[in-house]
Amino acid sequence: MNGGKAKLLIRGGRILDPGAGVDKVGDILIQEGRIAALQPGVKENGATVIDAKGLIVCPGLVDIHCHLRDPGFEYKETIETGTLAAARGGFTTVCCMPNTQPPIDSRATVEYIQRTASLTAAVRVLPIGCVSKGRQGKELAELGDLADAGVVAFSDDGSAVADAALMRKALEYCRALGLPISDHCEEPSLAHDGVMHEGWVAARLGLRGQPAAAEESLVARDIALAELTGSPVHIAHVSTRGSVDLIRKAKARGAPVTAEVTPHHLTLTHESVMSSPSLPDELAYDTDAKVYPPLRSADDVAACVEGLRDGTIDAIATDHAPHAPVDKLCEFDDAPGGISGFETALGLVLTLVHEGKLELATVIEKMTAGPVAALGLDRHEGLAGLGSLAPGAPGDVTIFDPDAEWTVTPERFASKGRNTPLGGRVLKGQVVMTISGGRQVFAREKVTV
């Protein structure tokens, strides 16, 4: 992961580093696992040359929200398979959520993850620790010990920190640690076991829905608590217009709030539960479209896109949530939620660029400098410059072809999770090579070396 000794020279690509305001054709040299120089005409001197002509070269994508399922659910995914999938998706840093078994609420589990990652991971893995012991939402976990062990944030993701008093205590405690809390905003009594968005599709399908207010009420609460404590709160996977509006107003007031959105909440609506391209003539009840927070209305999707455009939302995060096929092959109510998203993330968000709804620079910024800033990742040791191509930054680079068309084929995913509603869909924009810490961790056959 750290320190490939080889020199890599990426030549002639369009270098796009929106965090640093860079957008120009040029060369990048990586040596000793770090970005060495960024200018045209760099000398080769025994470097491996990668021809990136016609391709986009950006900082390695950073995913601040994913589920690697390891330890405890290795049949769904392992650190090894998950990071391989991440690399295929162009990600060089992933932050894994603590709803493993055992959950990441103790130093021992953090160290397990770090050890396993150092031995088997294709890319950098940064663990996120639990807010509460066992993710039970009752007592604070040993946040200080976890911070010392190396977690980069706290979350009880999978669940909300439902108890307001506990969230307040956690935020106050974190003032001393300088780490943010990422909240999965889903108020349990309002959500009341709803399995999809509460709206006309749920009414048609006879499924219990959860209203947008289940998310918004906790977003509002978390903003109030962040302002009360002065401690930063990060809103995970925003999905509704109301949430975006609350965050926008909070930021305007200077509240310490950041937010992320998933590629699927930027592009898919609750209709995906009802209709699937592979089942044109019937109600699909597609469990691959079951996710928390649920896919919402077209208006909510538009609001999220707008939120990215105007900076209300800081980051795109995949919430990669793999499940084994047998887990999803059941009645809709009983299926676990989650979409396997690493390998489709970039292609899916580029749809918005191709449709003219977002600028390419915006999208890349929200997948590089944006997430790094949201969680303050570059403040950690050895991670200065993360998410950028500045000299000295980690040697993480993603090279992609924004126009390559490809068909989503879940059976060929590197992830063990094939659960995606995008199977068979044609996307435009594909990762060609991923370089992590100066090593090529993924290369599609067509790249010439």
Partner: protein
């Protein structure tokens, strides 16, 4: 024998015609326009198909009226009833329907939550296919379960009720019952009263009645009316995929005014989450169909209930047993409707 009646049996006489158009006459009956492999809901039934079910049901009623109610139509066909929710009424209705048609009927009462208790739904369905089930009649507590089943079996699936979502055979027998009294439902006002959110009977009736041209009003306490009934707003394209448009009322006296049909729903005590209504007493005060309330409907209005009736809750005892109640006919018609569907499913795939 009169002289002009020759025995012309062996002749070939007649005038030859070289005709382009067929003679002016009705054509031979067209092949059946039945294209359903499964019966999962009424949302994809055309009015002609519903008519076909109604006609076939009349024929089946005649069979049931015979001294020996038995025909050999489905001999050699195995019908399996797979009920994940207990129900004496619907299951025995299907069982009788199958047996009158000469089918072999197997009843399976399956454990409710397949996830916890062993065999998954898909595995069960595959097993039943292996033992030769041609028609699978399924009732399941989860919406969408029969759709999942239908994708993993060659058998035909009839949905006998899935979660809150659909109960097409009930809606068809309700339609048949109404039409046998009123002729048809075109332009008639049908009011459906009760716990709409959790009612698969209501949803399937919305499809069936609106396809046949009825004017529908649904009525119930606001906490028991589903969110999103008005369909997609803004620029969502799926308006044709939403439930058909209906009038929504929370005041039962307004809803029932001049109604031709009053359909009451069971207050589903077992499915209703606590706290959606403050008490049964309040529900009865506000929504029970009493004789006084019923008087606001047309004098000829029919009263229906899918059963089992919570007497004294959804309807008062005197209405349940009164002259306008057709609740018992619904049950009798249920067997005939289910016979018609079994027949059409097995014969219609020509």
């Amino acid at each position: 024998m009169p002289a002009d009646l020759k025995d012309d049996r062996e002749g070939q006489g007649g005038t030859a015609i070289l005709a382009r158009e067929p003679p002016t006459a009705l054509p031979h009956p067209a092949p059946g326009t039945w294209r359903h492999r499964h019966i999962l809901d009424l949302d994809d039934f055309s009015p002609e198909e519903i008519e076909l079910v109604m006609e076939t049901t009349s024929t089946m009623k005649e069979v049931l009226a015979r001294q020996i109610a038995r025909v050999p139509t489905l001999r050699g066909t195995t019908v399996v009833t797979l009920f994940y929710e207990s129900s004496t009424r619907t299951r025995s209705s299907f069982e009788l329907a199958g047996k009158v048609l000469g089918a072999d009927v197997i009843n399976i009462a399956a454990a409710a939550s397949s996830v916890q208790k062993g065999e998954s739904l898909v595995d069960t369905v595959l097993t039943l296919q292996a033992i030769g089930a041609a028609i699978l009649v399924m009732r399941h507590p989860r919406s969408g379960a029969p759709y999942l089943a239908s994708r993993h079996t060659r058998a035909s699936v009839i949905n006998a009720g899935d979660g809150w979502h659909a109960h097409p055979t009930q809606a068809l027998l309700d339609l048949f019952t109404i039409c046998s009294h009123l002729g048809d439902v075109r332009g008639r006002k049908v009011v459906i009263i009760g716990d709409i959110t959790h009612s698969r009977v209501a949803r399937s009736n919305l499809w069936g009645l609106s396809t046949m041209g009825a004017q529908i009003v649904i009525c119930g306490p606001p906490t028991l009316l589903p969110v999103g009934l008005e369909g997609p707003t803004g620029d969502e394209e799926g308006s044709k995929l939403a439930l058909p448009p209906v009038e929504v009322e929370t005041n039962v006296d307004r809803a029932i005014a001049d109604a031709d049909v009053v359909m009451t729903l069971r207050l589903q005590l077992e499915r209703m989450q606590s706290g959606l209504i403050p008490s049964i007493r309040e529900y009865c005060n506000l929504y029970q169909v009493t004789k006084e309330r019923l008087a606001k409907a047309k004098p000829s209005a029919l009263v229906l209930h899918p059963g089992p009736v919570n007497e004294g809750v959804e309807i008062s005892l005197d209405v349940a047993h009164g002259a306008q109640s057709v609740i018992e006919e619904q049950v009798a018609n249920g067997v005939a409707v289910r016979m018609a569907l079994l027949y059409l499913l097995s014969r219609g795939r020509a």
